[in-house]
């Protein structure tokens, strides 16, 4: 188990990244906070050392993605609707105030993830494939398809990569 100081340091370093991955999947603050805390609790409980900072970062990404997926798959989540989401349904808005972010969040989940990991985190397709446990070709396909959809949503103003 890691020391409280170590975990506090990790929160300072990776809090934004964990929050962003939560936002990609969950879209509400209550679930985000729950997953946020769960991820750092798992980090605290992990006793094995990380080989490098990159390894630590990739581990946190994977744990956060899995925690989000688990929550989305849970029975309670799939059969109930939080009040916030109900309010969103009643009056859809752009809670982040950023059209590009909103556009990314409108993409299917599989495209959202690769777009975030590639364009924001700077991972290559093979690296993303390793983190997500997928075939690199699948990642390439998702990247291409996600980019196309994003262009469509944003009005074809992308510059490509």
């Amino acid at each position: 188990m890691r020391s409280e100081a170590e975990v506090s340091q990790a929160i300072d370093t990776y809090a934004d990244m964990v929050k962003q991955i939560c936002i990609l999947h969950l879209k509400n603050d209550a679930d985000t906070e729950d997953i946020f805390q769960t991820v750092f609790l798992k980090y605290a409980l992990r006793s094995a050392a990380f080989e490098s900072a990159e390894h630590e970062k990739a581990w946190l990404i994977r744990v956060t993605l899995n925690a989000c997926k688990d929550l989305l798959r849970s029975f309670f989540r799939s059969h109930t609707l939080p009040l916030e989401a109900a309010a969103e349904l009643a009056a859809p808005e752009t809670p982040f105030g950023n059209p590009v972010l909103e556009a990314v969040l409108r993409l299917p989940e599989k495209y959202r993830r690769v777009i975030y990991l590639h364009y924001y985190m700077g991972y290559s397709a093979p690296q993303i494939a390793q983190i997500l446990g997928k075939n690199p070709n699948t990642v390439y396909t998702h990247l291409t398809r996600g980019r196309e959809m994003l262009k469509e949503i944003l009005g074809g103003d992308g510059d490509g990569t």
Binding site: I11, D16, K19, Q20, F40, A44, V100, Y116, Y119, Y120
Partner: protein, 262 residues
């Protein structure tokens, strides 16, 4: 687009309140008394249950495994099975008198010393002894140390009893006796009689008292011109030479006691 996406996500930050609440929760987690890991509770309980079950089975097996048998023959023929804890775990009678004696006494789960005392003090046995009956106590030993201990005890108990014979025997010999439906003390005389006549069946031997069997043997031996070393007691070790190895074994013993190979 890459730049716009980067800017879009860069605008998402974890608030200081969120970080603070997370630190508080972790602090509470670190401060709590360490409970037994929940994930381990199930397997631990299962393992404990298995251990208890195994212990129970082993204990049951240890308790109910016969380690020695005390065969008491006078007219009632009775065998007391003793476990490693010196307790009687089985009482078997080999004739109606033995059955009546066993039914009249509560011997199960008593110590062998208490059980032997009760049998020897019973009216049936004391009456037989008073009527010049011959008492034979054979200790069938599976555990040599315990067998020796029991033999010492029964020898001591019958030291002042005339016509009492105590000896130890090996389990293999006792098995042969049981195959014929005889207790060991009776079997020992039966096979000696069989050396002189084949007209006596095990069933008939079972119905005769030890005194009758002994008298019959003496008569047959006298007829055959055998010389008895002791007119009052039969020295079985001398007579067992012609029993094809199935009779009582050879060994040294005192007036009442006949050992099995030391």
């Amino acid at each position: 687009m890459e730049h716009e996406i980067r800017q879009a996500f860069a605008s998402v930050h974890a608030s200081e309140q969120l970080k603070a609440r997370t630190r508080q929760r972790l602090h509470r987690y670190y401060a709590r008394p360490a409970p037994a890991p929940r994930a381990l509770l199930g397997p631990l309980c299962a393992a404990a249950a298995c251990c208890l079950l195994c212990l129970g089975l082993v204990g049951w097996r240890l308790f109910f495994t016969v380690t020695s048998v005390i065969s008491i023959d006078i007219n009632p023929s009775l065998e007391l099975s003793v476990n490693r804890f010196d307790r009687i775990i089985g009482v078997e009678s080999y004739n109606p008198d033995g059955e009546a004696l066993a039914n009249g006494l509560q011997l199960l789960y008593k110590s062998y010393a208490q059980a032997v005392d009760e049998v020897l003090a019973s009216e049936t046995v004391t009456a037989c002894l008073a009527g010049d009956g011959v008492l034979s106590i054979a200790v069938v030993e599976t555990e040599p140390l315990q067998g020796e201990e029991i033999l010492n005890y029964v020898t001591h108990c019958t030291a002042s009893t005339p016509n009492a014979h105590c000896h130890s025997v090996q389990k293999e010999e006792a098995d042969q006796a049981h195959e014929l439906g005889l207790s060991y003390g009776r079997y020992a005389l039966y096979i000696q009689i069989c050396q002189h006549t084949d007209s006596l069946t095990p069933e008939q031997a079972n119905q005769m008292s030890m005194r009758q069997l002994r008298d019959l043997l003496t008569e047959l031996q006298q007829k055959a011109g055998d010389t008895l070393s002791d007119s009052a007691d039969l020295e079985w070790e001398e007579e067992s030479d012609g029993c094809s190895g199935s009779g009582p074994g050879q060994g040294s013993g005192g007036h009442h006691r006949h050992g099995q190979g030391g």
